[in-house]
């Protein structure tokens, strides 16, 4: 990989966050993390064209994953978004409505999610 793909991972569970961080780092991605939607939004507004893909949990304090997805799809329509949820169907359905590219239900296999990430990023690169 000449230039590593950049990921933003958002989850209010720090264990999950560090697991994802370690994993994607070891797979050659450049990873940034945020503990809730608000922290993520601030990172995104700060570096708007930096990230290739956003992976976000849905149920979080202040700005929820659904809120984050709605804002991001409006402000940065090219950013690919994967939503993860462990709270039944409701938040997942709202995430699809907010136009998340993929909605995954927890528990999630890390290799599977990495596959999805690379597919989404390659898709976007082909379009460009």
């Amino acid at each position: 990989m000449t230039e590593s793909n950049r990921l933003l991972i958002v989850d209010d569970n720090e264990d999950i966050l560090s697991t994802f961080y370690e994993f994607f780092n070891s797979m050659g991605y450049e990873v940034k993390t945020a503990v809730d939607g608000f922290a993520a939004l601030k990172l995104l507004r700060d570096k708007s064209n930096f990230f290739d893909c956003l992976i976000t949990d849905l149920v979080m304090p202040n700005i929820s994953g659904v809120g984050l997805i709605s804002i991001v799809k409006k402000e940065y329509p090219h950013l690919k978004i994967i939503a993860m949820t462990g709270y039944g169907d409701q938040p997942g359905a709202l995430a699809s409505e907010a136009k998340a590219d993929v909605v995954l239900f927890k528990p999630i296999d890390l290799f599977k999610i990495e596959n999805t990430v690379s597919e989404l990023i390659n898709q976007e690169k082909e379009i460009q």
Binding site: N62, I63, S64, G67, P91
Partner: protein, 355 residues
């Protein structure tokens, strides 16, 4: 002119920053916090910072009105929709179009109306009572509650799907006792405000040792209770007296929002603004923070009798069981009830031996 959000604490600064970042997204907002923390102030600040601030800010209290009236207030009605509907009347969804609809006390909305609300939020369409037409509506919904809605969902008094739809952005306002550093600036602000409202007042600002005492008081009624004290001080001009009259022994820090005693909402003016033994006892069984209409609907002697006797029975059963080393047949004999009744009651009150 809306009230600014006063405070220097981390949590208030973070709320201000959050308002700033989300005011133009028009995503549904849920504001939570105990009675008197300033949920409406936050809603007005969201509105004031948004591009909708030239349109209407329409408020409705979902706990203050009976179900049918709340429905017609929200959606409006056509002439002849029901007895007494002499002419067509627009609902809040219509008056708030392109602006903000603030749904206060959403946790008290009856289930049937929650379903209808969900439909409107999903489709952006509503129809007035007695009308066949669906009207498009573009309102920014900001809801507020002092209930723990997750708990209400578990108790099946609040719809989970409506909760997730409202909870897109959540603003949680901590109680005043968790942000004491905001108290001096709140006093400063409201002292000035009321001084200008009542130019002939006798009030004075608190000195440093009084201020310290005020900062250390837990303020169970939050900012609204503090406001009442400042107003009262304008008349009495004695902070010592105000401090003296603050309820001390019985301060019940609300464990859960359901047990809030909401000192101010009794709306009897300043003299009755503080709880007595009576209200603190009653508030253990009935939510006194709602409007009188709702309160009178909730108060039923039969219901309260059951709640009160259940609570005492539970304690007595646990007490006797502990005394006899959890020997249930002995406990049943002492309590003069059958063994079966004891088991039933232990189950009902969730009394179980320590592990």
């Amino acid at each position: 002119m809306s009230t600014p959000l006063i405070g220097v604490s981390k949590s208030i600064l973070k709320i201000k920053e959050l308002i700033n970042h989300v005011a133009n997204t028009c995503l549904n907002v849920l504001i939570t916090g105990e009675t008197g923390v300033g949920k409406e102030v936050v809603a007005q600040n969201l509105y004031a910072e948004s591009a909708r601030n030239t349109q209407n800010f329409v408020k409705i209290n979902c706990a203050a009105l009976p179900e049918t009236l709340l429905e017609s207030e929200l959606y409006g009605y056509e002439k002849g929709a029901f007895t007494g509907a002499h002419k067509k009347r627009p609902g809040k969804f219509q008056t708030a179009d392109k602006g903000v609809l603030f749904l206060d006390e959403i946790g008290d909305m009856p289930m049937a109306l929650q379903s209808k609300m969900l439909h409107v939020l999903q489709s952006g369409e509503f129809s007035p009572l007695g009308s066949d037409h669906e009207f498009k509506t573009d309102v920014w919904v900001i809801a507020a509650t002092n209930h723990n809605l997750e708990k209400s969902i578990a108790q099946k008094t609040f719809r989970e799907d409506l909760f997730y739809r409202l909870n897109i952005i959540k603003i949680e306002i901590p109680p005043l006792r968790e942000r004491k550093e905001d108290i001096p600036s709140l006093i400063e602000y409201y002292f000035r405000l009321y001084s200008s409202e009542y130019p002939n007042n006798n009030g004075s600002k608190p000195g440093s040792d009084i201020l310290e005492k005020l900062c250390n008081y837990p303020w169970p009624g939050n900012v609204r209770q503090l406001q009442n004290c400042i107003k009262k001080q304008m008349i009495l001009n004695s902070w010592e007296k105000i401090l003296e009259e603050l309820p001390k022994d019985q301060i019940q820090i609300p464990v859960a929002p359901q047990f809030e005693t909401s000192y101010q909402s009794q709306q009897h003016g300043i003299n009755n603004a503080f709880p007595t033994d009576r209200t603190s006892i009653i508030s253990q069984f009935v939510d006194l923070s709602t409007s009188s209409d709702k309160l009178f609907e909730d108060i039923s002697l039969k219901k309260i009798k059951k709640l009160a006797s259940d609570r005492v029975e539970k304690e007595v059963i646990a007490f006797v069981l502990e005394k006899v080393g959890w020997n249930r047949s002995r406990a049943a004999k002492i309590l003069k009830i059958s063994y079966k009744t004891l088991l039933y009651k232990m189950d009902e009150f969730e009394v179980s031996p320590p592990r």
